[in-house]
Symmetry: C2
Subunit: 339 residues, 2 copies
């Protein structure tokens, strides 16, 4: 009986300690992906473009359809590859005619991008609906015109039928609606991880090394910028702490202050190379470099290794994506143009 | 009672008639994908590279992994896209550095390629295991060396572990084994269709128009070359009936007789543009052109439309492919080289 009481107390104490760390993390601005579906839906839904099953299914097809691009060869998934952590694993995105991104910009992951406050590296829009319109039209990416996209989608009766199901009476297929539909699919690409389980109350979800890493992460000040549910995704904090303004990226000047968005740390072990220009391959190097240029802090090898352990707790569980079967082209479908 | 007898007789007669067509089709060399799993396995398995669940799962990952290519951007699925009828929908394949296939060769579908007697347009090898080695190394395709492929796969512990599971004691990762594993996955990409159901005894599986189209298809002589389970996939028949030797394709001369392989007709509605050089977009035009150049026969519009109806019965049912989650690169993984 005595033994049991001790054990109970010991457990409670450990629980309190651990809860202490979780509480501290939340105070520092780190937030979990909620387990409650209604609560999650509130966070990921867009009242102006509500999530429905029909739009998600249609959006998935459009996301995987290379015929939206001028060449017929590049889809959203080419650079935001759902098999590869949601990005492409190369320093600067490759697009139409094998053009490397002229700003040397690295493709950001699409996973959990719904939690970003800012889309694009220069944070020029807060919504995925606006983001989805960008790469489709950008000359060095998918290089398509809105007219090409609308003509392509409209040429296939199966797509037309699915737009009817998705949008009811308002079925006119527009470029904006195509982007909205893709964004709807992207809004569902949420990957809860051990870190979320931990913040949501499961003390055992993270290892001791990961908890220690979380402490180091907060002690060093990383959570100042890598905050919120996405552990990143906003521009604002740069104004306060940034000492390195990333202006040396060709003709890309970031926002008006010469800054780029704080990327998410979720699934970071799967999205090398790092930084907006994809110039750092090792996570440990990225951690140390961020300490130096953003925090003016020396992060030693042991601390970097500890933080890296924590970051592994951000590897998310990805819902199964069944590869869509795309409708067949018709005689009205615009022909691919690889030039 | 009388009525019922009449109905029974009528049904039997109709059944006999329909069976007559099915029998005729089989006599003409057309074969169904068998419904019996053991029988199917005999047809798709390779005793030298036996199909196992472990190899199929690993092969699927490798099939979708762009890191096997020099650039890190092109996977098998880029040109043999399982969402797009198993090919890429563009006239000549695009590869490394946006190089269009120098022989102007069109990417053939991977679906049902296990049933081909010959792989590659020049039919130089009968096995998918050999085929899988080709595009990975071809300079205008994935442009990788065997050493790059082995180094890439070996650099990721998850792949190494899966090779252990797939090959038991014989776990040394070689380029040949990577190709064998991809081929194992490809061997499972079989798509039974209404035509198979019909040949396997379901009289109602094909519409009347499709059955009429099948008759026209056989009457015109199409089944002479488009024969066997794949309705194509062999070289040999060209020697007998070919009058157009497809030599006018740059420096690609086909086999020693200047010929190219007969492509499969399965899923043909989804794999435009047509012919080895992807120069014809409309199925009806392809049918008429084939009549002219291969059979010396005039196929009129009504006949072409009828044959097209039959070809729709070859649209196959594709098993769900859950997008694989690829292992993360490590510091040992060769870096992508887009040049």
């Amino acid at each position: 009986m005595y033994k049991r009481t001790v054990l109970t107390i010991a457990f409670a104490a450990s629980s309190l300690l651990a809860s202490g760390l979780a509480t501290e993390a939340k105070k520092a601005g780190l937030e979990p992906i909620p387990t409650d579906k209604k609560e999650l839906m509130k966070l990921i839904d867009n009242p102006k473009n509500p999530i429905t099953d029909e739009k998600v299914e249609l959006g998935k097809k459009l996301y995987f359809d290379p015929r939206l691009s001028k060449s017929g060869f590049i889809s959203c998934n080419s650079c935001h590859n759902l098999s590869e952590g949601g990005d492409d694993g190369i320093p600067a995105a490759i697009g139409h005619k094998w053009t490397a991104n002229p700003h040397h910009l690295n493709s950001p992951t699409v996973y959990n991008s719904v939690f970003f406050n800012s889309q694009f590296w220069d944070g020029r829009d807060p919504h995925l609906e606006a983001q989805a319109q960008g790469p489709i039209q950008a000359a060095p990416e998918m290089s398509a015109t809105p007219e090409h996209v609308v003509a392509t989608v409209t040429s296939m009766p199966e797509y037309v039928e699915e737009f009817k199901k998705a949008y009811g009476k308002d079925t006119k297929i527009t470029f904006e609606k195509v982007a909205d539909t893709i964004a709807t699919f992207e809004r569902t690409l949420v990957t809860p991880s051990a870190f979320d389980d931990y913040l949501n109350g499961n003390e055992k979800a993270m290892t001791k090394a990961q908890k220690d890493g979380l402490k180091t992460f907060m002690d060093k000040g990383c959570a100042t910028c890598h905050t919120g549910i996405a552990l990143g995704g906003a521009m604002n904090v740069f104004n306060i702490t940034g000492t390195y303004k990333f202006q040396d990226v060709g003709d890309f000047k970031g926002d008006k202050n010469g800054m780029v968005k704080v990327p998410t740390l979720r699934n970071i072990t799967q999205t090398a190379p790092y930084f907006h220009n994809g110039q750092i391959w090792e996570l440990k190097d990225a951690i140390k470099e961020m300490g130096r240029i953003q925090l003016g802090a020396d992060i030693n090898d042991a601390e970097a290794a500890s933080i890296e352990e924590f970051l592994k707790a951000l590897d998310g569980r990805k819902a199964d994506v069944v590869l869509p079967q795309l409708p067949a082209s018709t005689s009205k479908t615009p022909k691919p143009d690889i030039n």
